[in-house]
């Protein structure tokens, strides 16, 4: 049968390789169909060379079949659209807004703390003392350390909440655009 001819075998192997991105079930069906085509063509009296030439390069044919195969079916498109609408509703609901509020607040607190840290640092350097005046926190270099720690901590808070908020907002914008067209 067709599998016995080495040129056909090679062609089908290369063809199958080009379909690696396609689902296995679809891939088998595609390869079987081309095998069947080759068999019919040979039975009709065409030469192997002619059949394979008319099919075109195995790689090119595989790419064209894969492209057609990977299209979304109408049912799946509809489902995806409903999921998008659902996520949009969730995104504009109260819990979502609370989350935005929370990270917004975190950013504000972080920014304030960040500058408070600089203030503490500046004050300690200006006073020329490196000891803290905070009761219960008597240790040498206290204000300096507190200042640096506050700067680092609150810088982290600002950057972190900024990133989260930014990503979240971009996500909301992207979904909104997709659903609302």
């Amino acid at each position: 049968m067709t599998e016995q001819n080495p040129a056909v075998k090679r062609y089908l192997e290369e063809f199958r390789k080009g379909l690696v991105k396609v689902e296995p079930a679809d891939r088998d069906e595609i390869v079987r169909e081309i095998e069947s085509h080759i068999a019919d063509a040979l039975n009709a009296g065409q030469s192997v060379a002619a059949v394979l030439e008319r099919l075109g390069s195995a790689d090119r044919l595989a790419r064209a079949m894969a492209a057609a195969s990977l299209l979304e079916s109408p049912g799946r498109k509809r489902l995806r659209r409903w999921l998008d609408i659902a996520s949009l509703v969730a995104l504009y609901s109260l819990p979502s807004l609370l989350m935005v509020g929370f990270f917004g607040l975190l950013m504000v607190v972080g920014t304030v703390g960040f500058f408070a840290g600089f203030a503490a640092l500046g004050m300690s350097l200006f006073r020329g003392t490196l000891s803290t005046d905070v009761p219960g926190f008597q240790f040498p270099g206290g204000a300096y350390i507190v200042g640096v720690l506050m700067i680092l901590l609150f810088a982290g808070m600002v950057i972190g909440s900024n990133k989260i908020l930014g990503r979240y907002l971009f996500y909301v914008i992207r979904i909104s655009r997709k659903v609302l067209g």
Binding site: T2, E33, S36, H37, A39, A64, A68, L71
Partner: protein, 115 residues
């Protein structure tokens, strides 16, 4: 005659789907059959590399359905038949086609006698 091969291929690509749907409407066909029948009209110049991917797309879109059938002379064959959406699409394309041909004719009828 002037070379219009580029224009031809553009037009051909547009009508191939319509031709295939019309062909399948007459009865289920398998790939090699479709290729052979279309090859009888060289103006369509549609080869395997165009037809098979197109059939796959029609199937993905739900316009055609397929079934495998044993053949006496070789491996089983995948047959294509019109599905309901395909039937409706064909009917719509048919009327569109008539209107399109009329429209084009009104523009080109005039110069018919000069060549």
């Amino acid at each position: 005659m002037q070379d219009t091969s580029e224009w031809n291929s553009q037009v051909r690509r547009g009508v191939l789907e319509l031709c295939i749907l019309g062909l399948i409407e007459q009865g289920p066909c398998y790939g090699y059959q479709i290729v052979t029948r279309l090859a009888e009209s060289p103006q369509l110049a549609a080869g395997e590399g165009t037809i098979y991917p197109l059939m796959r797309r029609l199937k993905k879109d739900g316009w055609v359905e397929t079934f495998w059938q044993e053949s006496a002379a070789g491996p089983p064959r995948q047959y294509y038949q019109l599905a309901e959406p395909g039937r409706r699409a064909l009917a719509a394309m048919r009327s569109e086609w008539g209107a399109l041909v009329s429209a084009v004719n009104t523009f080109i009828e005039g110069g018919k006698d000069h060549d």
